[in-house]
């Protein structure tokens, strides 16, 4: 029986951040969907059911915590939603609480620690 790899949707306006996180998470056994803007986010939301959403905060089109709040309030995403940003932890904590989402992960931890945090949240990835 095939084991389904857990799926993570990352939303960030930096293509480089998306590519780096996809590489790090793929190496850890996760499937990764990436969205560089709200149109791509909407596309993935309609056709996939990720196990975790990681959302940047400061993006050109909108603040990620505002977008997350809309998704959560409309019950359009069942998965945990975490902010993923380089903002100070105190501000991330406040924004996550205000948006009534699940939490935050600081980019300042670096990719390896972010992957470890993801593992704590949704468990290990599947086989490669």
């Amino acid at each position: 029986m095939a084991i389904r790899r857990k799926q993570i949707l990352i939303v960030d306006d930096s293509v480089l951040v998306l590519d780096m996180m996809r590489a790090a998470l793929d190496a850890a056994g996760y499937d990764v969907l990436i969205a560089n803007d709200l149109a791509q986010l909407e596309e993935h939301r309609r056709f996939h059911r990720p196990d975790l959403v990681l959302m940047d905060v400061q993006m050109p089109e909108a603040f990620g915590d505002d977008v997350a709040m809309v998704l959560r309030a409309a019950r359009e995403v069942d998965a945990p939603i975490y902010l993923l940003s380089t903002l100070d932890e105190a501000e991330l904590k406040r924004r996550a609480a205000d948006a009534e989402i699940d939490g935050f992960i600081s980019k300042q931890m670096g990719a390896e620690a972010i992957v470890s945090r993801v593992r704590e949240i949704i468990g290990v990835g599947g086989p490669r």
Partner: protein, 101 residues
């Protein structure tokens, strides 16, 4: 980020950061009121550097971003100095190629 991935992505990071710093310098030289744009570019550099584990680069970018947001404009020596320090650090990571004219 492990060494293999860092090595793989470093050239893209350096090229992108240089492009953003050149844009910021040009806006300052033009006297343009471009604080939000420069702050956003510095924020992006900080995020990308953080993911790569280049924490000193990320710290310099965050200091520059903070300076731009506090001053609210770009006609401030502290901002130019922050950009200069960041530029030098990027050049240490990957020395710029010299043209053989």
């Amino acid at each position: 980020m492990n060494d293999d991935l860092r090595e793989k992505f470093l050239p893209r990071f350096v090229a992108s950061a240089r492009q953003r710093l050149e844009r910021a310098s040009q806006l300052i030289a033009d006297g343009a009121n471009a604080a939000p744009s420069i702050a956003a570019d510095l924020h992006t550099i900080a995020g990308e550097a953080s993911i790569m584990g280049l924490h000193d680069v990320a710290q310099l970018a965050r200091e520059g971003e903070r300076a731009v947001r506090i001053v609210g404009g770009v006609d401030d020596g502290g901002i130019v100095l922050a950009l200069y320090k960041l530029w030098r650090r990027i050049d240490e990571l990957a020395p710029p190629k010299r043209s053989s004219a």
